[in-house]
């Protein structure tokens, strides 16, 4: 995979973008009139959530490719992508919870659709790992994992719709927080931050994948050497 040669370069790029993002968030973007400084959490929390979606989507796509072509490499790629998605999903919940405490004084709010959605997805993808660890390695495990990854991606919009509908009759204490009325510099900081986090996720994904490939090669090597 020639892309691996560039992983270090991409990591440097991610570091640079991250530095730029932090500078923009804390020194350039104006402070939000209503929420004050706690709004700054938004610049990480939302991109992390979007990155998690991207990772789950990639995992599902790789899973589809596995079912389509049968090429074994897609299993590892799908698994690694979903692993990154779960990491970023957990970070979404953590940063979201801190933001909720900063904005509304509570660590959890069922009225926050995104928080609830990520909780459901987190449960779903944790079960993915439990499933993976309880099936013998092989084609069956790869296929079952791929199908489950596809179900996950279908669950995302349906769950979101369900949570929105549920708010009609759960009558939670409604907290309001606006997101999209951003000035130009705020929007720019958001995009840079998102780019930095996407690159970070990509680097983490590649590094983990390289580790898994090395594992696989070592296993084969061991089999060959001990069989002689």
């Amino acid at each position: 995979m020639s892309l691996n040669r560039n992983v270090a370069a991409i990591a440097v790029g991610a570091a640079g973008l991250m530095a730029l993002a932090l500078a923009m968030v804390f020194f350039v973007a104006p402070e939000d009139a209503d929420q004050g400084i706690s709004q700054k959490i938004f610049y990480f929390h939302v991109p992390i959530a979007l990155t998690a979606y991207a990772c789950f989507g990639t995992g599902a796509w790789k899973g589809l490719r596995l079912l389509w072509t049968g090429a074994e490499r897609y299993d590892l790629e799908s698994y690694t992508a979903i692993h990154q998605g779960t990491i970023f999903g957990a970070l979404t919940l953590l940063t979201g919870s801190i933001w909720a405490k900063a904005s509304w004084g509570v660590w959890w709010a069922w009225s926050s659709n995104q928080l609830v959605l990520f909780l459901v997805l987190f449960l779903f993808y944790c079960a993915y790992f439990m499933l993976r660890f309880s099936v013998e390695p092989g084609t069956r495990r790869a296929r079952v994992s791929a199908v489950y990854a596809l179900f996950g991606v279908a669950l995302i919009p349906i769950s979101f719709l369900a949570i929105r509908l549920a708010n009609d009759f759960i009558h939670p204490t409604v907290f309001t927080r606006h997101g999209a009325q951003m000035t130009g510099t705020m929007l720019a900081a958001f995009w840079v931050s998102w780019a930095a986090l996407l690159l970070l996720a990509f680097v983490m994904y590649r590094v983990e994948l390289i580790g898994k490939h090395i594992d696989a090669n070592l296993r084969d090597l061991r089999d060959i050497l001990t069989a002689r």
Partner: protein, 56 residues
């Protein structure tokens, strides 16, 4: 620091800590890979016929 600033710091710190934990896990994996490659290198250097299937 106002309480708002504390929460912002906490949120960004959580992300930094997560990445560092991930680095630690990768580092541990790298150490294990180094040990395994060293074992396999020893196996490979021995002349053929002597190699026994050990712990695999």
């Amino acid at each position: 620091m106002s309480s708002g600033e504390k929460y912002v710091a906490a949120a960004y710190a959580v992300v930094l800590l997560a990445v560092l934990v991930w680095v630690a896990i990768i580092a541990a994996k790298l150490v294990r890979l180094e040990r395994e490659t060293a074992e396999l290198a020893t196996l490979a250097r021995r002349p053929a016929g002597e190699r026994q299937s050990t712990d695999g």
